[in-house]
């Protein structure tokens, strides 16, 4: 959301409600995915 502060005769200033903290290194957000289910263990067929 943006607040607009207008003063007569001046350029409108956009004041953001939130900004990123500049000293926090953003960590990549984990994508909301589940790991794929493990494949069933295959038992090798006995060689006759």
């Amino acid at each position: 959301m943006i607040f607009r502060a207008h003063q007569p005769g001046s350029e409108p200033i956009d004041i953001p409600e939130t900004i990123p903290n500049p000293v926090v290194v953003p960590k990549p957000t984990p994508t909301p995915t589940e790991p794929a289910p493990k494949e069933p263990v295959r038992i090798p067929e006995k060689v006759p």
């Binding site: 900004i19 903290n21 000293v23 960590k27 909301p32 589940e34 289910p37």
Partner: protein, 341 residues
């Protein structure tokens, strides 16, 4: 903290969409990491809340699990109370499981307000340090209106909580069954229960992040242990001193005296006094952020050096949190290896 459903029912419901994560939460639900405090969560939904319909119905319906709680953010359509878990890691995993289930984001979502609940009521000074540490340590700098902090208990007759970032509980249900680390002589003793029969200090993060949950858990652990003589009391008291010294360097120490929490003391009921202090903190942090960005824009190659060496308040708080996080883990591991640290 009332939730009229079982943790097992919640996990069973979520399992279909996020089996691996749900299994991890189920396995570690009560596991406390390095003597940190347990973590409770409340999700306030400021939108229509339709994304929660299936979840709410699956847990027994709105009447059973939502309407039973009078407490919620004033602008929220619903407040979902989650069962407490043993660590910030499990709390984050649980929220991720719910994200999978409802198909929309809970972290950093302006429509979702996350309330992080910590066991133990902090006194007024420590509540101030919790709120200030959270604000300056967050990955987001926020501007507030007093209305952003209004809940259904702001003017409650029996439990007036005011409009604050930090709120006490209203003497609802309390789950004590989490490990509490305390010191006996030179020994670490792990009690199977928290030392309080009731009482929490909650923080309304607004649109919260994973880092916010981790930071609040660390801050609350240090402050609660300092106040209730837990195993981390010495580290907690050292943190308090360093945090107050940091605020003093920035001529902000007077902020700690503002009523950051509404207690039984009638003088703490001054919402405007709290909000003036919060606004001063916000203005200082935003100004610092502009200064850092300007330096970065004009002297792009100097930027990193300046940020590292300027000792601005934002950088100092990050360093303080990081130092305490590492120190707590280091001492915990030293003890595990037989050295009483």
């Amino acid at each position: 903290m009332s939730y009229r459903y079982s943790f097992e029912d919640l996990l069973a419901l979520l399992h279909g969409r996020a089996p691996a994560k749900v299994d991890a939460v189920a396995l570690h639900r009560r596991r406390v990491e390095h003597g940190h405090l347990s973590v409770g969560l409340k999700i306030h939904c400021l939108g229509g809340g339709s994304q929660f319909s299936t979840l709410v119905e699956g847990l027994g319906g709105a009447q059973k699990i939502l309407d039973v709680n009078y407490y919620k953010h004033c602008h929220a359509s619903l407040c979902l109370v989650l069962p407490p878990v043993g660590s910030a890691r499990s709390a984050i995993l649980l929220l991720e499981c719910i994200e999978h289930f409802i198909g929309s984001a809970l972290f950093s979502n302006p429509e979702i307000q996350i309330q992080v609940c910590s066991p133990g009521r902090l006194d007024a000074r420590r509540s101030a340090l919790l709120a200030i540490g959270f604000y300056l340590g967050s990955d987001t700098l926020r501007r507030y209106t007093l209305g952003d902090l209004a809940t259904s208990f702001a003017e409650h007759q029996r439990y007036p909580r005011g409009r604050r970032l930090v709120l006490y509980d209203a003497e609802g249900d309390f789950d004590r069954n989490f490990d509490w680390w305390k010191e006996s002589g030179k020994r670490r003793v792990v009690e199977p229960q928290l030392p309080f029969e009731n009482g929490r200090s909650d923080l309304l993060t607004g649109s919260g992040s994973r880092l916010d949950i981790q930071n609040i858990n660390l801050l609350a652990t240090l402050l609660v242990h300092a106040q209730y003589q837990g195993y981390w009391s010495q580290l907690g008291m050292q943190f308090e001193e360093e945090m107050e010294a940091l605020l003093e360097r920035h001529v902000l120490k007077g902020l700690v005296d503002a009523p950051w929490i509404r207690t039984d003391d009638p003088e703490s009921g001054d919402d405007d006094g709290f909000f003036a202090a919060l606004q001063e903190l916000v203005a200082y942090a935003f100004e610092e952020s502009v200064r850092i960005k300007k330096k970065g824009g004009v002297f792009p190659r100097w930027h990193e050096i300046l940020v590292r060496s300027s000792h601005g308040i934002l950088q100092e708080v990050q360093s303080l949190l990081q130092k305490n996080r590492s120190e707590l883990v280091r001492q915990s591991r030293l003890f595990d290896q037989g050295d009483p640290a």
